[in-house]
Symmetry: C2
Subunit: 205 residues, 2 copies
């Protein structure tokens, strides 16, 4: 076949990305060949090499298309002198779980990033991005919890640094377990209950 309009080209690019997302999710990044992606997208490898330099570039385009939950968290909980930072964070965290639970594409991409690829060699930059997002999140939340501690909003039984780690660990554990085992519990419901329980403990004097 031949060339179509610019819009059509963008469409095939999308089809390639969608096919890659599906196949990476089902078979893993390393186990998926460009041939398979091309076939699933209804094109040939030539089309893929036209739109992307190689498989790594394709992978990069895939994960750059979605926002990480850490990035969501850090952005929405900016907390510029909020009167109730803990309440805000609790709300944002629950929203975050709800969003993830509803967005199949995010689920697939996160699952790929978590379980469907090994991060070495060329893929390392994907890990680097997550690492940066995590660092930013920790920095931000550490400030937030420290503030809450100073303002007497955080129970003295929780050292701010410990509370921050407990919160991030629980969040990570929730979506790791949920994604890993095929969403075998109610993330938005039970997950949010877990978060609320933890924050109840944070606030108790």
């Amino acid at each position: 076949m031949a060339r179509s309009t610019k819009a059509a080209a963008e469409k095939t690019r999308r089809r390639i990305l969608d096919a890659a997302e599906q196949l990476f999710y089902v078979h893993g990044v390393a186990q998926t060949s460009l041939e398979q992606i091309a076939e699933a997208a209804g094109v040939t490898r030539g089309a893929i090499y036209w739109h992307f330099a190689d498989k790594v570039a394709l992978f990069r385009a895939l994960y750059e298309g979605v926002r990480l939950p850490q990035e969501d968290l850090v952005e929405q909980a900016a907390s510029g002198g909020n009167p109730d930072p803990l309440g805000l964070l609790e709300q944002v965290a629950c929203d975050c779980l709800k969003t993830l639970a509803a967005d199949r594409q995010r689920q697939r991409v996160y699952a790929i990033l978590l379980f469907r690829c090994d991060y070495l060699g060329e893929m390392a930059e994907a890990l680097a991005r997550q690492s940066e997002a995590d660092a930013a999140m920790h920095a931000n939340l550490t400030r937030l919890f420290a503030m809450a501690g100073r303002d007497g909003l955080l129970s003295p039984r929780w050292a701010p640094a410990v509370a921050e780690r407990a919160f991030t660990a629980m969040m990570r554990g929730l979506w790791v377990d949920w994604l890993r085992y095929e969403r075998n519990f109610d993330l938005a419901g039970v997950g949010s209950d877990c978060v609320r329980g933890l924050f109840r403990s944070f606030r108790a004097e």
Copy 2:
């Protein structure tokens, strides 16, 4: 070279396993060829094929050599009518963190299982084992928390199922974050503090 004694053969088997562990950890399972493993072990691919059927078998031997933390947890917290199941679980969990923090081999193998391999195709059984271990752990802990709830040991503000999920999520999050980012916090110290904080909340009436 030639054949040596049976003990020497076992030694080369170990060398192969050690080399594989190192390389899988550094480069990922898929990105590591048997040739590289052989070179690192100071043998040829022939030796690997003598001791193992293929790379998958080698990988299996590797992860079958260590116990999963879920298995540790479920075994040590058997809790046959323990008067203080929550206290027991808290202790076991902290021990678990301490053990992981001290055992480099476990850290590498867990990291490989978590981040250095994609679980599809032949590797799926590795995930299956973890899945079973997790299921057993959840079943056991669900019973434990339900018991604690009935006995009035668990705060009524924590539904047993939610508490169980909160605990397992926190544990998973702790060692996932710790392993993923090169042990960038004090797992035994801060991690245990997190667990203790959570259990304090569990017990508060």
